[in-house]
């Protein structure tokens, strides 16, 4: 009698459902499983149901929440009855499955951009920008800066033949480069800027390009945000004649650009900007605030007070409306600016142990974002659970920058002078 009762309480009827495609689609039928299984146990059950030749790690969702403890505890904590048939959705686990060869730089890697699936763009403390077509193979070196590069961005990567990139540096300038992608071969090409953007009075901290590539936006230690034109317009050709920077033997003219607009409002170093839509710019600053700027008017329409100096900000998630930011403490915060009357973050992730240097939303998923920290770790987060999905611990020193690449990889650079790529992350 007793034995039967115990068995009954420890058994749950579950039904595995998924949105994955056939190789990972399990037959929809109710299964009886013990209630004390964890994620690993569930994963092995699904694997046995699927009869794959190579085992696959899965993550499990009940009512839109990821399971991070034993099933029994989870049901108890959420107050879900174990008597009816549970519907468990499974997805492929978000974790890097492969670690690519590190790409060694000459100095600290301070910036990385993985928004183009063909290339990885990195900025380095030696003042050079680099374009990598694949892990370990550097195709172009962008030269010209006299100070460390602090931020890089693809301006226009859609064009087939040439790609435009922007770099920001601590020498108070931004440079725009045109890279000819048709050139192939093992040798790396050195590229000089076609346009130098001067106007900031202090180190430029961050650069970001508008969607169509016609403008770039930069933020600086002089507390301002500047917008610049990227095109080779005639009006500025005249300016270019006056000053020629760099090696004189170079034949091509270097244009000089001036800021189109300046957004003033921050009281301290503006550490990061993002330009998610055509007329909206988000910026974060060491004055403990995140601001949203309306590009046509140049006014700030939102001011989120954080309480900590912020290093990085990104916009994404549900409806591309959530703001994620991190700064001078180990907490990654996510705000929802659509919530009226409050500047309290809706999510706080605090598994890091030092400053957060970078955070990026996944471009297609509403739930996933990554964060990089000075403790040398990159963490992948899902909004549906408070624990990190996975921790990439390959860097040996501070991680200074990180980005998604091709939707399934994480590229990151740090104070160990390496660009590291962790690939095989399946985000459906």
């Amino acid at each position: 009698m007793d034995g039967e009762g115990e068995d009954a309480s420890k058994v749950i009827h579950v039904k595995f459902v998924t949105k994955l495609y056939p190789p990972f689609k399990a037959p929809v039928s109710s299964v009886v499983i013990p209630s004390n299984v964890t994620r690993l146990g569930l994963s092995s059950i699904v694997n046995s149901l699927l009869t794959l030749e190579k085992p696959e790690a899965f993550d499990f969702l009940i009512d839109g929440e990821l399971i991070r403890m034993s099933l029994e505890q989870f049901l108890l904590a959420k107050g879900i009855s174990a008597e009816r048939t549970l519907e468990i959705e499974y997805i492929r686990a978000v974790a890097p499955r492969k670690e690519e060869k590190p790409s060694l730089h000459d100095d600290w890697v301070s910036a990385v951009d993985g928004s183009s699936p063909r290339f990885i763009l990195t900025g380095c403390y030696d003042g050079l920008g680099r374009i990598w077509s694949s892990p370990g193979s550097c195709t172009h070196i962008l030269e010209g800066h006299t100070g460390a590069i602090s931020s890089v961005a693809f301006v226009n990567s859609q064009g087939g033949e040439s790609v435009t990139v922007a770099t920001a540096s601590k020498d108070r300038t931004l440079r725009l480069f045109k890279v000819d992608t048709a050139e192939s071969g093992d040798s790396t090409t050195r590229v000089r800027a076609y346009k130098i953007l001067r106007g900031h009075k202090a180190s430029v901290q961050s650069v970001v390009a508008e969607k169509h590539g016609s403008m770039v936006c930069s933020s600086s230690w002089d507390c301002t945000i500047n917008l610049w034109n990227t095109d080779e317009s005639e009006s500025e050709l005249s300016v270019s004649g006056k000053k020629r920077k760099g090696n004189n033997q170079a034949e091509e003219a270097q244009l000089e650009g001036e800021a189109v607009t300046t957004f003033v409002g921050h009281t301290q170093c503006v550490s990061s900007v993002v330009w998610p839509e055509e007329d909206v710019i988000y910026s974060c600053s060491w004055d403990h605030s995140v601001r949203r700027w309306d590009v046509p008017t140049g006014k700030d329409t939102l001011n989120l007070y954080c309480g900590k100096a912020l290093n990085t900000v990104d916009v994404g998630g549900e409806g591309s409306a959530l703001v994620a930011g991190g700064g001078s403490d180990p907490v990654l915060r996510v705000w929802d600016p659509r919530k009226p009357g409050t500047s309290a973050p809706v999510f706080q992730f605090s598994s890091h142990s030092s400053w957060i240097s970078a955070c990026k939303w996944h471009e297609s998923s509403w739930f996933h974002l990554l964060s990089a920290s000075y403790d040398g770790k990159i963490m992948l987060w899902d909004l549906r659970t408070a624990w990190p999905l996975s921790v990439i611990d390959t860097h040996k020193d501070k991680v200074l920058c990180a980005d998604w690449w091709k939707g399934d990889s994480v590229v990151s650079g740090g104070a160990d002078s390496n660009l590291r790529i962790s690939s095989g992350i399946s985000i459906s």
């Binding site: 600290w108 301070s110 403390y125 460390a148 108070r172 009075k201 202090a202 180190s203 230690w221 301290q268 170093c269 550490s271 060491w286 309480g307 900590k308 100096a309 290093n311 001078s328 403490d329 180990p330 030092s354 400053w355 000075y374 501070k398 200074l400 104070a415």
Partner: protein, 714 residues
């Protein structure tokens, strides 16, 4: 004069008497005349006249009594004369006043029964103590014949006490006779004498009170009636209850704490004994088996300490008969005696004070956020203890100097070392120019002071700095200054080197960024100089230095005010008025090590080598407003935040303390000082040598003897 007036008064008083008594007026008038004639004898005559007056009035009023008195005096004189002669006269003498006390009887035995002397030959003793012998008894026949012969025999009475015969006089017999008749004993007494009315009725026309008796004296009181009615009503309503014998409750709390109720009331210092636990089943002589400990349990009891061992181990006996005597009886009575012997005879009053309540009321740390509390960034690269750090105004860079001879510039946000200058000597002090567009670093080491170009400014700024730091021709200094310092170009780093005559210990920029003060403790009276960078000149202070200078400060708001800390005192001078001393602060410290001024300029914090820190409110007093004793070892540096109400101290005990130090704009309110955080993290080797706040964030940089710089964030 007073006598005279008295006399005059008496004269006035006497005059009406004269009228009343015309009989004796002649004599009176004479006396008055004499008193008027002789002024000297006024008092005497006055008193005399007074006495006379009295006696006169007396004689006037009671003539009868006077005569009686005279008779009596004569009688008593007679009595006294006769007393010695014989007892018979004495009896007569007692006629007027029959008290026996006046004439002592012959016999002195007192009031004793006379039959005591019946068989004796004497009847008693006289006043000299001699026996008074009895008279010989006469023959009855003789005595009868004698009585028959004596015609006066009927008047003789035998006095048994004195043993003699007393013969009554005629007056006495008459007196007895009158008394028997019921008349007054004295023949002279006239019971029907005319009535003399002493009250003078002639001038009183009204009676003493002519008011008729009021009616209320004859009717019962209305108020009493009301009161009685009230009482009657109260009794009827039951408001007044007459005493009834209190019924004692016949139930009482059998198991209650009887010690508390009645015992306490009897004795002030009654200490109730602890309640005994009620016996349970295990105390039974034959408890159930589950109470009986097993052998293992008993063995485990043996292994316990005696204090921890259970004092009762249940045992089982088959019958009451088999229960042995109580084995611990003797021991327990001994313990009881010990308890009594050791019991304190005095009840100690223990005061229960919550130690928390003795602490001063301070606001919670949570309310005083933000303040630095945790270290997230470290700046590593130096190979020796970092002696000094300095922050750039924007907060993007910090500079540090170390004993390994290197000066480094670090990027704050990443911890990257941007620039290194290597020197041969240990760096003593670094100071960043406070102007935002003038990124020059002043570095003190040994006897040299360097101005270094950090190359962090814009191109125009860079150009200006390069021009300034190019020392084409050596500046001419006046004689006094030339003996102290010499300006030289520094080829290695394209800066300026100023060579001093003694070792430097401290440098400080003026807030305007042009002047720089340098302190040489070995320089004694010439220990402080001021360099002017733009003019390439050096000036000696027009101040007579007392004691060895330790550090200096320029006032943040008032241009000419200069503060110098010597080993024991802090002095404030006005440089605009030729170094006129303004104030002297008495620290009471043994040796000052560092000093920092609040950005408001009125409050000063001084750190000492004994670990004490003094907060001075310079407007308030020259004594410290508060002394904070936190560090067990020397304080190496103190610092204020530029905008947040924070200050910090760092010490050789490798900790840094962060305090909340709020200065109110209201002058009546004293500064609020709250200790916030102890920042640890530096290794114990070498301690923390310098601390500086980030200029814009509530962050603290600490430079450690372990050659690491740490950044503590909020």
């Amino acid at each position: 004069m007073t006598k005279k007036s008295e006399g005059a008064n008496e004269d006035q008083v006497k005059e009406p008497k004269r009228k009343v008594v015309p009989v004796k007026s002649q004599k009176e008038a004479k006396e008055v005349k004499s008193s008027e004639e002789e002024e000297d004898l006024l008092l005497d005559s006055g008193t005399d006249s007074d006495y006379d007056g009295d006696s006169l009035s007396g004689s006037l009023n009671s003539d009868d009594f006077d005569s009686e008195d005279d008779d009596e005096v004569v009688d008593s004189e007679n009595g006294e004369e006769e007393d010695d002669e014989g007892s018979e006269q004495r009896e007569v003498a007692e006629e007027s006043d029959s008290s026996e006390d006046e004439v002592a009887p012959r016999n002195t035995v007192g009031d004793v029964p006379l039959e005591w002397y019946k068989d004796e030959k004497h009847i008693g003793y006289d006043i000299t103590g001699k026996k008074i012998t009895k008279k010989e008894k006469q023959d009855k026949l003789d005595s009868f014949l004698a009585t028959m012969d004596d015609s006066k025999n009927w008047r003789k009475v035998y006095d048994e006490y004195n043993d003699e015969e007393v013969e009554l006089t005629k007056e006495e017999s008459k007196l007895i006779r009158r008394m028997l008749k019921g008349e007054a004993p004295h023949a002279d007494f006239d019971p029907y004498a005319p009535y003399v009315d002493w009250f003078k009725w002639d001038d009183a026309i009204h009676p003493l009170s002519s008011a008729p008796e009021p009616k209320r004296r004859f009717i019962p009181s209305k108020w009493e009636v009301k009161k009685v009615v009230k009482l009657v009503r109260a009794i009827r309503k039951g408001l007044i209850k007459f005493d009834k014998p209190e019924e004692e409750p016949n139930v009482y709390l059998l198991w209650g704490d009887d010690s508390a109720s009645d015992q306490k009331s009897k004795h002030l210092t009654y200490i109730p004994p602890p309640k005994l636990k009620l016996p349970g089943h295990e105390e039974s002589y034959n408890p159930s088996l589950e109470y009986i400990p097993s052998e293992e349990e008993k063995a485990s009891y043996e292994l316990m300490y005696e204090e921890d061992r259970p004092n009762f181990i249940p045992k089982r006996f088959t019958s009451l008969r088999s229960i042995p005597a109580y084995e611990n009886a003797l021991k327990e009575s001994f313990d009881r005696c010990l308890d009594l012997y050791l019991c304190p005879r005095v009840r100690k009053k223990r005061i229960n004070i919550d130690p928390e309540s003795l602490k001063p009321k301070l606001p919670s740390r949570k309310d005083l956020r933000p303040y630095p509390n945790s270290c997230y960034l470290e700046y590593k690269g130096h190979t020796g203890p970092v002696t000094s750090i300095s922050t750039e105004l924007s907060g993007q860079w910090i500079a540090s100097g170390s004993t390994d001879g290197s000066v480094r510039i670090w990027e704050v946000e990443t911890g990257r070392c941007l620039k290194v200058w290597q020197f041969d000597e240990a760096v003593k002090c670094v100071a960043w120019n406070p102007l935002p567009d003038f990124p020059i670093l002043a570095v003190a080491m040994g006897v040299d002071l360097f101005f270094l170009n950090t190359e962090l400014g814009t191109d125009e700024e860079q150009q200006r700095i390069e021009e300034l730091l190019r020392l084409d021709n050596l500046p001419e200094l006046d004689e006094a200054a030339a003996a102290i310092a010499k300006w030289l170009p520094d080829e290695k780093y394209r800066g300026i080197k100023i060579r001093h005559f003694k070792n430097l210990s401290y440098i400080d920029w003026h807030p305007r960024g042009d002047y720089l003060s340098a302190v040489m403790p070995g320089g004694e009276t010439r220990g402080v100089v001021i360099h002017q960078l733009l003019a390439h000149s050096t000036k000696r202070l027009p101040i007579k230095m007392r004691g060895l200078p330790v550090c200096t400060l320029f006032h943040p708001n008032h241009r000419g005010i200069f503060i110098i800390a010597t080993k024991k005192y802090v002095r404030v001078y006005n440089l605009h008025k030729n170094g006129e001393p303004i104030k002297k602060l008495e620290t009471g410290l043994r040796e000052i090590s560092s000093m920092a001024i609040h950005p408001g300029g009125d409050n000063l914090v001084v750190g000492s080598k004994e670990g004490k820190m003094c907060w001075f409110d310079m407007d308030l007093s020259s004594k410290p407003y508060k002394i904070l004793k936190n560090h067990p070892k020397d304080i190496t540096n103190v610092g204020f935040h530029r905008s947040y109400p924070l200050f910090a101290s760092c010490s050789e005990d490798s900790t840094a303390y962060v305090f909340h130090g709020k200065v109110y704009s209201d002058l009546n309110e004293n500064p609020l000082i709250v200790p916030l955080e102890i920042l640890r993290g530096h290794s114990s080797k070498g301690g923390v040598l310098d601390c500086k706040f980030h200029p814009r964030q509530p962050w603290l940089f600490t430079a450690g003897g372990d050659s690491v710089i740490k950044l503590y964030c909020h």
